[in-house]
């Protein structure tokens, strides 16, 4: 499950706009390290912890 899928599972109210133009930026530097949260400036939703994300499985 990708980081993006985990985030929309945790916060179903997030829209594609939030990731494309909004307050959340997931980034992948094509260096083999995978996706990570580069920016989290959402006005109401808290940035999830690594533990929260690890608990989300398919």
């Amino acid at each position: 499950m990708s980081l993006y899928q985990k985030l929309i599972t945790l916060y179903p109210e997030l829209s594609s706009y939030d990731f494309a133009y909004g307050a959340i930026r997931i980034q992948n530097d094509s260096d083999g390290k995978g996706d990570y949260i580069r920016e989290w400036n959402h006005p109401t939703l808290q940035r999830p912890t690594d533990e929260q994300l690890a608990q989300i499985t398919e």
Binding site: Q5, S16, A20, Q27, N28, S30
Partner: protein, 190 residues
């Protein structure tokens, strides 16, 4: 004809009018770095139509399959040309050695069954310009493109390209060099 040089540094020739006198200059073919220091020749001294020899590059991409919702750096590792050795094929970035305004153009061909696709220019790992459009996989997909002028300081500033899609799954770009490529050049020195 009298030639008078007074104590004030003023030189007078005859009655003040000069005829039949040619001012000596450098003979054709001898203007070089010995006669004129390179750094003293500015952009304003160039004639109309004279282009600069500033850095420029053109690169193609390696294969890339990337996930939904993540801005992913385009692996432009195939250097077609790089006139000043300023293109980094390991980190997929352009870090020029001349300060000025650079023009960039990027194209990426992708088939997206849903959602939108976006191409972004990043300067120093920060997004400075996006261009997005709805996705399509009709006839294999569409070309996403972006163009931008970006100021770079010639020492530390660099530019990269990132791609984004929101289909909900993984997508593979078409990395044919005729479809997916990016280039940039110095448009005007600072």
């Amino acid at each position: 004809m009298a030639l008078v040089l007074d104590g004030n540094g003023t030189m007078t020739v005859g009655n003040g009018s000069i005829s039949g006198l040619s001012v000596g200059g450098l003979p054709t073919g001898v203007i070089n770095s010995t006669n004129i220091v390179d750094a003293t020749i500015t952009q304003a001294d160039l004639a109309t139509g004279v282009t600069s020899t500033g850095p420029l590059f053109h690169a193609t991409s390696a294969a890339l399959t990337f996930g939904s919702g993540a801005f992913t750096k385009m692996p432009f590792s195939g250097e077609v040309f790089d006139t000043a050795n300023c293109y980094d094929t390991t980190n997929y970035r352009f870090l020029p050695n001349v300060p000025g305004y650079y023009f960039f153009r990027v194209s990426v061909f992708i088939g997206l069954g849903s959602g939108r696709g976006i191409l972004s220019f990043y300067k120093n790992n920060g997004d400075v310009g996006q261009n997005g459009q709805p996705g399509s996989n009709v006839n294999g997909g569409v070309t996403y493109a972006n163009n931008m002028l970006i100021y770079l300081n010639g020492t530390t500033d660099y530019v990269e390209c990132f791609v984004y899609q929101e289909t909900g799954g993984n997508v593979t770009i078409n990395n044919n060099g005729g479809l997916t490529h990016w280039s940039g050049f110095l448009m005007r020195a600072a």
